[in-house]
């Protein structure tokens, strides 16, 4: 009897052990791709993530559950890196911090190991691969299989927006890096490295994609704020065509002009006050064609305008005046940029000269000293009415990626280049901007003033610190072998640099990970 009891014990333990046959465990605090789209709201939520790729860095605000590993999450924000790569090497900006690779952005002496270059490259392809995954997850037959037939039209529109975002990032990719891999949604997740496409091939793809999807986007100026409509598509196409000569060797100003006119014909109007475009309530600006929205409560990041507002504050500036809880002592402007404005620049008749000079030297004797170089509180966390934003750390201020003033100046540039358009219209557009800046017509120009050099300078005055400067300088041949400003080439007086600096290097990490890639010349 006893033995039987004992044996029963062993049988019981064997039965317990059998429970171990099924050794599969599925995630419980996350949802796998097999079941996420059972919920119809997932389509919209995933589309929101594709937009979040421009504004946020992870699944927690302002940071946490980051999109990337092994990169500093706050630094890795799309808007912030795009801004740094487009502004720091130019005459417009200098940053004080000593983070590895950051001074080299200011001096144009970056190497292929520069972490900020790597972050931007990673951001471009994060967008590309997330859009690709979205497209793979949402074809019509999958919707039908899930019983979501009645969502097909909605999802079609989402897919068009997703492709707009992919085209936007590919544009940034060829603009910054030149020849890059073209990865479409038919390139599945896996370990096969893609091949390198030419800048021209990716350019053609961007144009073809935007042309194909534009009819599926809302009409110009009718999309939800923060989302792409045909106005955004026209602006993106216009920007791509404007730089076509740089990307492909063939100028396409006529095609650009068509798109510029499409955008200008939309319901956009200039904001009455220039600075209001960069304040906490700028989401109401009638001038924005495509903006990256931020919110002090609901859309928090360490990049975007959190970075721009805080980093631009320091020295004797009182943070509370700008709706901020503190200053980060980083960004100033270089003296060559100040010189674009009519004297006296610290009280310029041009209202776009937003400088803070108290305790700030004009010359940048030291990159790392905040008080060297004038401060420039363009982005602020106070509303046009003077009230602070909803949160003192994370401004409500949105970042204008495309606004009407840019379309005006592109129109003027096409005219100045003699590539089409109406000179009177162009002068009218420029004067509209200048009258807003001067408060009267004292700054008006006439047709003979409208030269390419004037347009470049005017773009500097109007669009400074909005992430356009490097592309503009390259289009005008003023970025590397011509054009001298403080610390360019690593010396305070500035010097020209080699032409290869017109492209950033493919990140060293990327060259290592993908043997199909050839590094840009010079690196």
């Amino acid at each position: 009897m006893r033995n039987r009891r004992i044996s029963t014990l062993f049988i019981a333990s064997a039965l317990l052990a059998m429970m171990g046959c099924d050794i599969t465990t599925e995630p419980v605090s996350t949802v796998t791709d097999a079941s996420i789209f059972a919920d119809r709201s997932s389509y919209r939520a995933y589309l929101a993530k594709l937009y979040a790729g421009l504004s946020l860095t992870g699944q927690q605000g302002p940071h946490g559950a980051g999109d990337f590993a092994r990169l500093d999450e706050g630094f890795s924000q799309y808007n912030r890196q795009l801004w740094q790569l487009q502004e720091l090497p130019t005459d417009e900006a200098v940053i004080a911090w000593n983070d590895a690779g950051l001074p080299e952005l200011t001096t144009q002496l970056w190497s292929s190991s520069n972490q900020f270059v790597q972050m931007m490259f990673s951001r471009v392809y994060f967008q590309v691969s997330q859009v690709n995954e979205f497209l793979r997850a949402t074809p019509d037959d999958s919707l039908v299989a899930r019983g979501h037939d009645n969502m097909i039209d909605t999802v079609h529109a989402y897919r068009a927006e997703a492709r707009f975002l992919r085209a936007l990032s590919y544009w940034h990719g060829i603009d910054l890096f030149g020849d890059i891999p073209l990865v479409r949604e038919d390139f599945g997740i896996g370990n096969t490295p893609p091949t390198q496409s030419t800048r021209e091939e990716v350019y053609a793809y961007v144009v073809a994609e935007l042309t194909e999807i534009r009819s599926e986007l809302p009409a110009v100026g009718t999309g939800d704020y923060g989302r792409a409509d045909q106005g955004a598509a026209a602006m993106l196409l216009a920007k791509v065509y404007m730089n076509s000569e740089v990307y492909t060797g063939t100028a396409r100003y006529a095609e650009a002009l068509t798109e510029i006119e499409t955008a200008i014909a939309g319901p956009y109007t200039l904001n009455a006050n220039y600075q209001d475009n960069f304040l906490a309530d700028n989401n109401t600006s009638p001038e924005f064609i495509f903006a990256i929205p931020y919110d002090g409560v609901r859309s928090r990041t360490w990049g975007g305008t959190t970075f721009l507002a805080h980093a631009g504050c320091g020295g004797a500036m009182a943070n509370a005046d700008y709706g901020l809880d503190g200053c980060w002592w980083g960004l100033r402007v270089k003296p060559e940029f100040v010189a674009l404005f009519p004297a006296p620049q610290d009280a310029s008749p041009d209202g776009r000269a937003i400088f803070y000079t108290n305790g700030q030297a004009l010359a940048v004797a030291s990159i790392t000293n905040f008080t060297d170089g004038w401060a420039a509180p363009k982005y602020q966390n106070v509303t046009s009415g003077g009230a602070p934003g909803s949160n003192a750390t994370h401004p409500d201020t949105d970042f204008p990626m495309f606004r009407l003033a840019d379309a005006y100046l592109m129109y003027a540039e096409v005219v100045a280049r003699g590539a089409g358009g109406n000179a009177g219209t162009a002068v009218g557009y420029v004067n509209a901007l200048r009258q807003r800046a001067y408060g009267d017509n004292s700054g008006d120009i006439t047709a003979p003033d409208l030269t390419p050099d004037f347009v470049l300078a005017e773009r500097g005055r109007e669009l400074w610190w909005e992430g356009h400067r490097r592309t503009d300088l390259i289009r005008f041949g003023q970025f590397s072998t011509a054009g001298v400003w403080a610390w360019k080439g690593g010396v305070q007086a500035g010097t020209t640099t080699a032409a290869f600096r017109n492209l950033y290097p493919i990140p060293a990490t990327e060259i290592l990970a993908n043997p199909n890639l050839t590094q840009n010349p010079g690196y």
Binding site: Q59, Q60, D72, A100, S122, I189, T192, D325, S366, T495
Partner: protein, 1025 residues
């Protein structure tokens, strides 16, 4: 399923058979086991013809149902030589035998613990090193890992954070086989495996729940033959911890005994980083700061490091009640420890309870063992940032400032300047409490129908419930710099791990053949729940850690992770004539951490050994000589679950996206490798055990070669091919080769109380090399690795590159002047084409300071410099892993006195002095807003800009340390008979050329703001009633 069924069928069959005990002519053997002095020996295991008994406190035993005829009686016990006697058993009669056991001269035990069983040491074919309690390191040792530092060849034990009391420990056995963080061995406590890395904790070290006083032995399994039985968990080696059971009770007449052991200790910091003093700092600001910056400085002379340190007092008490009767034994222990750290506000506290119960039942056929241990460990942490602030805070400033709005502590206004470490220390609270319990119930049943067959069933569990509490008031300077100042948070992880295993063991001896076969099944299931909340923007600081007043922002998160592991295992040991030994092991593991095609892995091993000393030709000089050869495969699965899934994670309410008038929550899929598979290590070991002159000198020599393939690592993906920039995947292979030498010697053997000296030497050499990295088709040459260093953001200075040791430093070669110091001068620049000009350019940068390495091929096929210094000129340069690890232990005895010491040395390990590299440059002062102190190395090298990637910060950190020295006195006779008083000094001295504070800084090789190591003086006594 098929396998499960057949296993079940076997058990059912055994159950059926069990009912019908065959009538057989049997008799009984009884007797008494004593030592040479005729003192009874309890808890010895007596085996007669596969029947077993354990001796009672008076040394007596009875073995019934022994088959009639001539039988061998084997008696074994730790610390004694195995006794072998012969008896003639007559059916139906009681045969009496008197057995005498000989205590071993040197502490060589004849039985060692191995996976799923025990084995006589002479039969072991693998590499199994046991450290018993009397060999443990002494003094204030809080964590179990620290007990064996320096004691086992090829085992490197390092603190994760310097001298923190009870701080986390890392153990590397034979160099480690993985490149992920999970290089830690598997810990198995009384047969119950701990979760990888020891499991979770809200405190410092998850193994701190163990009271060292409760540990009887720690056994390290090193080669594949001994670890293969743990299959997918064994690649990094296995550490088996046996806790004490009742058999340790002394044979007092009453059958039970009470012992007490208590110690008190005091600790002092040994060394601090050298920062500029107030005068040096003021001069540096005048010379290198912006004009007038020195006028901002105060007139104080504050040594901030002194302000945050203290003497660390400690005490520890353990009371043990143990005893037993003929068939029962028990042991219970209650322990209390409290150790203050040498930095203010740090402390480790432990309350532990351990119960062990053994019972023999059913004619001694069933042995029941139950172990239950539980502990509360409470850790108080010096708030993060205190050490960094103490280094960086300007020495010219005072601690207090009555006008300060930051709690009365002096603070700079600028948010980028260092904060007052004393303010941080006194205002912020950070503590963790961990409740952990481990228990198991093991039953061993000797099957009646087949002598030699026994079945073992075990259920075990590890439950951990932890709480980490943090509070920073809104007036702390760091808090005032962020939105919503003032934070209180709690993290309440729970981990439950349960284990069921069952195995059959069959022992058979036939003439010259001896066979032992073990086979069984094990299943573990693990679940971790991690809820967290934080509240920011506190309206009041009065509630501190223990309440949430109205808060502006609250966040809660919850993450749950599960894992399962199912395993079949088998082992056969065969010996012929006691001299030719063969072991074969196989384990088949199924793990939830891999995708459907890769869930199951098979891990075989085989070993042979030849006991040459049994051969007649060898003569008498060798008391033991055994040649061993083993081969086997192991796996590693020590990483997170769900890597094979594209897992969509939901965004929180602060990470929404504006779509027109509304804000939309987001979802994001993670990067995934659906084909991720096991890491697999294949290893060879050639070993020689030797014993000379009746084991007066003994030891072992080992040669090993380990190759690991399919290394799992987070690698940067080719852009566009996955859903993040990094995916965890199989990336390549590496190898470890090494030699280990152990020598135990009874140097002097004094007669009866005279002077005696036992010595142990161990030495291990390991060479590690990464062989291939090939995560993606086409391969890659280098992967940056390690932890991001302090200074800059996301700066990595270690690399994985083929042909070099794992985690080699990856730095520029700094040009040196005639006396070998790194240069700092402008002598080179770049022309417009980016080529070196050889002329000053007004700018001191990498072109001036670093060597342009030959990185490109010229027309003749020679590697030549490419004319500029860039990323390509960084090169692998040494690694943090020591080439040699040496340990020495000596034990001296003279009459009532005893003395012991442990020496430890590492040779060939390098450390990156990150304290110097991140604070030792003048440019820190170029901004008047950031008057941070500088490391004194700047006085020598004059660096103005940071040189994070300079090889001048990679230093040889070889060292020799007198780890501990102990002196004890034992009372004999009288009231205090058996009592012992002792004193210990730990970390007596360290000899090293390393300029940082601790050459053994961390296993990672990055020395940055580690907790300073202390010298500890301990005094104590032990009493037995």
């Amino acid at each position: 399923m098929l396998r499960v069924r057949s296993y079940l069928a076997a058990l059912l069959a055994s159950a059926a058979l069990a009912g019908q005990v065959t009538a057989q002519a049997t008799g009984t053997v009884s007797g008494r086991v004593t030592d040479a002095a005729q003192q009874p020996i309890s808890r010895a295991r007596v085996t007669v013809a596969n029947r077993m008994a354990t001796t009672a406190l008076d040394g007596s035993f009875v073995v019934s149902a022994v088959p009639a005829g001539t039988q061998i009686v084997r008696t074994v016990l730790l610390g004694y030589r195995e006794a072998v006697d012969t008896v003639v058993v007559t059916a139906g009669q009681i045969t009496t035998v008197a057995i005498t056991m000989e205590a071993l001269a040197v502490e060589l035990t004849d039985i060692v613990v191995i996976g799923y069983g025990e084995q006589e040491k002479r039969d072991v074919t693998g590499v199994v090193t046991e450290v018993t309690a009397d060999q443990f390191n002494t003094g204030r040792v809080i964590s179990a890992e620290g007990l064996i530092r320096g004691k086992v060849a090829g085992v490197q034990v390092s603190e994760g954070n310097g001298g923190e009391p009870g701080g986390g420990m890392s153990v590397r056995i034979r160099g480690g086989t993985s490149i992920t963080s999970s290089n830690e061995p598997l810990y198995v406590i009384d047969g119950v495996p701990l979760p990888v890395g020891g499991g979770l904790s809200a405190g410092r070290n998850p193994t701190n729940f163990l009271n060292p006083e409760d540990i009887e032995s720690i056994t390290v399994l090193k080669d594949a033959s001994s670890t293969a039985i743990y299959g997918s968990q064994g690649a990094n080696g296995v550490v088996l911890i046996q806790t004490r059971s009742g058999r340790g009770a002394s044979a007092a007449a009453s059958g039970w005994a009470v012992t007490y052991r208590g110690t008190v200790s005091g600790s002092k910091i040994v060394a601090n980083p050298t920062m500029l003093n107030a005068d040096q700092f003021r001069q540096a600001v005048i010379d290198f700061g912006p004009p007038g910056a020195d006028t901002l400085l105060g007139n104080a002379n504050t040594n901030w490091l002194r302000e945050v340190e203290q003497s660390g007092f400690g005490q520890e008490h353990t009371v043990v009640v143990a005893g037993g009767a003929e068939k029962t034994s028990f042991r219970s222990s209650l322990g209390y420890l409290r150790q203050d750290g040498v930095l203010k506000a740090s402390r480790s506290e432990r309350l532990s309870l351990n119960l062990a119960f053994n019972q023999l039942l059913f004619n001694d056929r069933l042995s029941l063992q139950a172990n239950l241990m539980g502990a509360r460990t409470k850790d108080q942490f010096t708030p993060g940032g205190v050490l960094g602030s103490a280094l960086n805070m300007a020495p010219t400033e005072p601690v207090f400032d009555t006008a300060s709005i930051y709690g009365g502590y002096f603070e700079w206004d600028n948010p980028l300047a260092a904060n007052n470490p004393v303010g941080l220390l006194n205002l912020v609270s950070d503590e963790g409490v961990t409740y952990r319990s481990l228990g198991n119930l093991t039953t061993v049943y000797s099957m009646p129908f087949l002598p030699g067959l026994s079945a073992t069933a075990r259920v075990g569990y590890v439950v951990t419930n932890a709480e980490r509490r943090f509070f920073a008031p809104s007036n702390n300077k760091g808090q005032t710099e962020i939105a919503n100042p003032g934070v209180v948070s709690r993290f309440n992880p729970t981990e439950t791990s349960s284990l069921v295993d069952g195995f059959l063991t069959y022992d058979r001896t036939l003439n010259n053949h001896q066979l032992s076969v073990t086979g069984g099944y094990a299943y573990t299931q693990r679940r971790q729940d991690s809820p967290y909340f934080e509240a920011r923007g506190l309206t009041s600081n009065q509630l501190g850690l223990y309440g949430v007043p109205t808060a502006a922002l609250q966040r809660t998160t919850l993450f749950v992770e599960e894992a399962k592991l199912a395993s079949w295992f088998g082992r056969a040991n065969y010996s012929f004539r006691d001299r030719y030994l063969l072991t074969a092991t196989v384990r088949r593991d199924g793990s939830s951490k891999f995708g459907p095609g890769n869930q199951w892995g098979t891990f075989p091993s085989a070993a042979v050994a030849w006991r040459i000393s049994e051969e007649a030709f060898l003569g008498d000089a060798f008391s033991d000589l055994k040649l061993r050869l083993s081969w086997g495969k192991n796996g590693n699965q020590g990483f997170a679950s769900y890597l094979q899934y594209k897992a969509y994670q939901f965004g929180d309410a602060q990470a929404q996206v504006q779509f027109g008038p509304e804000y939309v929550n987001t979802i994001r899929p993670s990067a995934a490798d659906p084909n991720i598979k096991w890491e697999e290590t294949t290893s060879w070991n050639l070993g020689l055990d030797y014993g000379l002159w009746d084991n007066r000198v003994s030891g072992a020599l080992e040669l090993y070669n380990k190759k690991t393939k399919d290394l799992i690592f987070d690698v940067i993906v080719p852009s566009g091919t996955n859903l993040s920039n990094v995916v965890t995947t199989n990336v390549g292979s590496m190898k470890n080769r090494g030699i280990e030498l152990t020598l135990n010697a009874l140097m002097v053997r004094g007669a009866d109380g005279g002077f005696s000296w036992d010595a142990n030497f161990n030495a291990a050499y390991n060479s590690n090399q990464l062989v291939v990295i090939d995560p993606f088709a086409g391969g890659t040459e280098q992967i940056l690795t390690g932890n991001a260093i302090s200074g800059g953001v996301g700066t990595y200075i270690q690399v994985l590159t083929p042909g070099q040791p794992v985690n080699s430093f990856f730095v520029y070669q700094h040009k040196r002047d005639a006396s070998g110091n790194p240069i700092y001068e402008d002598n080179n620049g770049l022309d417009a084409e980016g080529r070196l000009t050889g002329l000053p350019d007004g700018n001191i940068d990498e072109q001036d300071l670093y060597v342009d390495q030959p990185t490109v091929l010229d027309s003749t096929g020679q590697m030549v410099p490419d004319g500029r210094v860039n990323q390509d000129d960084r090169r692998p340069f040494h690694s943090p892993a020591p080439k040699w690890i040496l340990g020495h232990t000596s034990q001296f005895r003279y009459r009532n006195f005893d003395m012991g010491l442990t020496l430890l040395a590492q040779v060939g390990n390098y450390a990156y002095n990150n304290v110097a590299s991140s604070t030792g440059f003048y440019d820190q002062l170029s901004d008047a807003a950031r008057p941070n102190n500088l490391h004194s190395s700047v006085l020598d090298n004059g660096f103005e800009n940071p040189q994070y990637f300079s090889d001048s910060y990679v230093e040889n950190a070889s060292f020799l340390r007198l780890e501990n020295i102990e002196l004890g006195y034992t009372f004999r006779g009288g009231l205090l008979d058996g009592a012992r008083v002792f004193g210990v000094i730990q970390n007596v001295f360290t000899l090293t050329g390393y300029s940082g504070i601790d050459p053994a800084a961390t296993i990672s090789g990055i020395d940055n703001n580690i907790y300073p190591r202390s010298r500890t003086f301990t005094g104590g006594l032990s009493l037995t009633f």
